[in-house]
Amino acid sequence: MATLQSLDIKRRSATTETPPSVRSSIEVAKLIDVSKCIGCKACQAACYEWNDLHEEVGINIGLYENPHDLTDKTWTLMRFTEFDNKGNLEWLIRKDGCMHCDDPGCLKACPAPGAIVQYQNGIVDFISENCIGCGYCVKGCPFNIPRISKADNKAYKCTLCSDRVSVGQAPACAKACPTQAIYFGTKEEMKVHADGRIADLKERGYQNAGLYDPPGVGGTHVMYVLHHNDQPQLYSDLPKDPKISPLVQFWKGGFKDVALFGFGLTALLGFFHYVTKGPNEVERKDEEAAKRLSGDRP
């Protein structure tokens, strides 16, 4: 187990209960200010370089997004939307990637103990050596982030540069961002900073500017400042009120315990039936009746 205080584990996948921790550390957050983003993809490049990811060279399909979706090697992706706001064009550019939910759907869905952990600082990280590659995290995630590698059948996504954060550095994308559209610090500080940005945006005419920190997943450790916080879906389908799907809640919630209980109960009922009613045994008279029926044929 990680020994650094900031890396103490808060939750661990497929573990009936994570022991309570004596220590608690400050929650961190990455604030992505979409109104300052110039879509330069420096974050994407920095992510590839820091994480030693070598993505395939693709093709152009008539869009600026390259690659065209997140992959096992593309953990963050700039998504571009052209929005005609009553005659004024807006080019909404959103850095997509793991949101590091406080209530992570991936972790909830994961069947492999310790393959997904949430550190005390809020980072949700995939521990590859424990990952079994089942893809349940993909189904659990309300933001459609994790991807399974064809190379090693493990799930991959943004780690929020847990290796950097653990030694007191900002994530590679945040450090690279030329316009401070990505800002990194404690979640509290990031919220305060966002307030200032939102006030500035309102002054510039964006009445619905706001902070995207969706409560449906307990808040996130990657937050957005949006000019149109009332319509997050404008930003390449950022979900308006994301939560863990009720299906996943059911599947990974109490049902699994109920089912096991059901199996045990069935077996137990059989056992008690046996001890109360006894076996259903063939009696001599049955054999004789059969013999009678069949005459003397064997």
């Binding site: 187990m1 990680a2 661990r12 209960e17 022991p19 370089e49 310790g114 952990v117 653990s166 690279a176």
Partner: protein
């Protein structure tokens, strides 16, 4: 420690039994290994440099493997923005952020190559061969085409038949060296990227 909403659910939900067990001193949950990737630059050597792409000239730090000990070959393993640099303050653009891949580009030239007239292929040659041959070609042409005086008899001392296109990403020191060599030869077909 305050009890968050989520924490509350945790306590009241399916985790109840486990929490209670923990409260009774049963440390449940096997310790499954979970640790972050080791910080890959921990003991790398840092060298300050400047991004060679655009004229913002961002400060970069080159991280090399090896501590410059005799038996460790220095190899650049990572490039990142220099946080002290007043202009970029550690930030980099998508080109700067991928400088490592430029340094290690598969299409870098590693050896002097030569292509003879009409040939379909490159041939690897030695530096000696290349430099000898080029300087000989230069002298031959200069001696033949040097214009000492123009048609009006004015001394002009120019060599108009060989040209030199200087870079725009080389250092000032390279530039001055190039200037000295080119201009002392009388070359006038001389320009750089500033016009485009």
């Amino acid at each position: 420690m305050t009890l968050s909403r989520r924490g509350f659910f945790r306590l009241t939900g399916t985790g109840l039994a486990g929490s209670s067990l923990a409260a009774l001193g049963f440390g449940s949950g096997e310790a499954v290994a979970a640790s972050v990737r080791p910080f890959k630059l921990a003991r790398a050597t840092e060298t300050r440099n400047t991004c060679p792409y655009c004229s913002v000239s961002c400060g970069v730090i080159l991280y090399t493997q090896g501590d410059r000990a005799k038996n460790a070959k220095s190899e650049i393993i990572h490039v990142e923005g220099d946080p002290d640099h007043p202009v970029n303050r550690g930030t980099l653009c998508p080109k700067g952020a991928s400088l490592l891949d430029f340094i290690k580009s598969p299409t870098r030239v590693k050896y002097p190559m030569h292509r003879t007239a009409g040939s379909r292929e490159w041939k690897r040659v030695s530096w000696e061969f290349a430099l000898d041959r080029i300087s000989k070609l230069m002298k031959e042409d200069r001696d033949k085409n040097f214009v000492a005086k123009n048609s009006d008899g004015v001394t002009v001392n120019r060599w108009p038949t060989v040209g030199f296109l200087a870079a725009s990403a080389t250092s000032n020191e390279t530039a001055f060296m190039t200037y000295k060599v080119v201009r002392s030869s009388g070359m006038v077909v001389f320009d750089n990227q500033a016009r485009v």
